[in-house]
Point group: C2
Chain length 102, copies 2
């Protein structure tokens, strides 16, 4: 058999993790999402979610907004331009891989 092209070379390592994948896919279609909503959607502990959010932020994929509802803290997240581009690239790589399989 001939050796064909590496099917996973276009994937972004940051998005291999399922929780970060989930966060990004939620933020692609929702302008702003709160910490709590993400936590409930993805069914994760808050400590775990917090560390993944830090990873995404450190990579410049998301922005954090620390605000208030009344005088109660309320943190929301949104995707950055870089995040949109990087995630779209990742999804394209995934789709190409899937296309190769079907």
């Amino acid at each position: 058999m001939a050796v064909s092209k590496n099917p996973i070379s276009g994937l972004n390592k940051i998005f291999d993790n399922r929780i970060r994948l989930g966060v990004m896919s939620v933020l692609m279609v929702n302008e702003e999402v709160s910490f709590n909503d993400l936590k409930q959607m993805l069914e994760v502990t808050d400590g775990n979610l917090a560390t993944h959010m830090v990873t995404l932020e450190e990579n410049g994929f998301i922005k954090v907004h620390k605000g208030f509802i009344g005088r109660k803290t309320n943190t929301t997240y949104s995707i950055t331009k870089v995040g949109q581009k990087s995630f779209a690239d990742h999804l394209n790589a995934l789709e190409n891989m899937i296309k190769g399989v079907r």
Copy 2:
């Protein structure tokens, strides 16, 4: 914002790893692939590939065939029925997630 459905609940944890994802996608479209071809395609060290192959085998997703070319050992891998079904389910979950994003 209302809390929508978990976008990653249908994903299979075994296929989160990029190397296992690559192996499965290669084995979906090729009857039989040798250890060496996989190694070259995915650009991994042999120790690393070997452990991922064991994981896939232990989960019943692939079958190992230890054979010879002449008197030289030759190991090939193929996907199982279970592997096909599980990987197809995973790809469907991925596609649904992508669809939700676009």
